[in-house]
Symmetry: C2
Subunit: 288 residues, 2 copies
């Protein structure tokens, strides 16, 4: 995973505009928002899923970098004072604290837009049909039926009263849709058939939910130093979490069940999918 | 122009997500931001350019609606307190005044994202190569080399000291790139050849600059009622404008010259381009 993360950082550095000229400030902020050593889970899923179909890695890295741009844009906007008002992210000041609110808004807008440019360029795949499918899939995952809609629910007054179904649905939109598309992008690049796509979709959905439950457990149990951001934020904001709804042990059990389900979904790929299986296990065992 | 504007509003109404369910608020704000009777200049340029190549109008309307979503997203974000802090737009409260800052940020993000979904859907054009080219073109026009970069310059401390070249370059990024792409989208949908594309690019660049100069003249001369927003904003913010740099008469003359140049660029299309010629004249003669 570390190797892919490094190559994704290299790709982002290569793909993002240079921090020079009159628009240098927004490019600088886009770089600050992305080149900060995240886990790169989404690009890793894209690269590893694409690997099942022998896709040349440079194509998968481009698609993965585009997804990471979208993920990072969502963090930049979610952190804004008008939204979650977060001061720290991965142990460093958030973009609006390091620059200012206007630059953070523009850096997010820029990352979202450039992600579509990356997917649209022929270097991502010579077949325009593949590029068009990637673009459409990313737009749907990131749009009102996905990330944007999920964030709207997450900051709504109704958020505090969500039950288990509601919190699960919120997760599927806010973080699940992009994680699903991360695997789907590998399948699109690789020309996967319907069975293979369905298997990866199922894997990604289980993994995405397990990832969120693990996040809630970390938020409830860790201290700020390990997380790189203040701990216990959701409880403070009175937001219903999986931990609150299921209890610590219940949440742990549910995450473990989801990982086993995710692992089983990969059956059509045999041993070739062992890295994806290990990824699912890592997701619930990580400590940050 | 009014007919196309009405059909674009119908398209937007059809393409935007319904304002219902848990994410209803962001969909409602996206509708408020777009279904408010703008001039629809960009979609009009797309539809009229596409008409030169006998493109079925439903395709051009979809592409035009996507461009209008991107234009409206940029207005929503530019109006935010962290940016221009505008209270009125087209005579009604701006999105963050009508809703709140968080909803306005998300509505902008949603409009930008859904625009790419609209272009990516096969209904926009059956040939994926055309869809991929539209997507890439929109991303480049809206990204750091275009709109986002232009807005960064527009709110930068260096903004007040820009000379004529600087203000012209700013306009080319902030508003010119999307206007150029509005015509280019018609050419892409219509399979235009290189000569035709170059002619439309040149027309759009002249028109875009004339449009901005006319805007500066309106801002300097009109009252708030005619504009639907406070007048004299740029002078108040100490931003160098074409009017300040060229004088009222100089700016008027420059706009007129640009319109004549724009009109001449359309020579390869003969009389078929008369609507585009009339549009260029309208742009500098409008009073709001």
């Amino acid at each position: 995973m570390r190797g892919v993360a490094e190559r994704i950082s290299e790709q982002l550095d290569h793909l993002l505009p240079p921090a020079e000229g009159p628009r240098g400030r927004v490019a600088d902020a886009m770089r600050y928002a992305t080149l900060n050593g995240g886990k790169r889970l989404r690009p890793f899923l894209t690269v590893t899923s694409a690997g099942l179909f022998d896709v040349p890695e440079d194509r998968a890295l481009r698609a993965g970098a585009a997804l990471e741009m979208v993920h990072c844009y969502s963090l930049v906007h979610d952190d804004l004072p008008a939204m979650d008002d977060s001061e720290l992210r991965r142990g460093t000041p958030t973009v609006h604290r390091r620059y200012d609110d206007a630059t953070a808004i523009l850096a997010g807008d820029g990352l979202l837009t450039e992600a579509f440019a990356v997917l649209g360029e022929p270097a991502t795949h010579p077949d325009a049909g593949v590029r068009a499918e990637l673009t459409l899939g990313l737009a749907r995952a990131a749009g009102t039926a996905g990330m944007v809609g999920g964030q709207m629910v997450d900051i709504s007054p109704e958020r505090v009263d969500l039950d288990l179904n509601g919190v699960t649905e919120l997760q599927a939109m806010k973080t699940g849709a992009l994680i699903r598309f991360a695997c789907r992008a590998g399948a699109i690049l690789g020309g996967a058939d319907d069975t293979q796509r369905a298997a990866l979709d199922g894997y990604a959905d289980d993994l995405g939910l397990a990832f969120q439950i693990a996040d809630d457990l970390l938020d409830a149990e860790s201290d700020a130093e390990a997380l790189g951001k203040p701990a216990g934020q959701d409880a403070q904001a009175d937001k219903a979490t999986f931990v609150e709804l299921l209890g610590i042990e219940g949440a742990r059990g549910r995450a473990r069940d989801l990982v086993e389900s995710a692992v089983a979904r990969l059956e059509p790929f045999g041993e070739a999918a062992d890295t994806l299986r290990a990824t699912a296990r890592f997701v619930v065992e990580r400590d940050s």
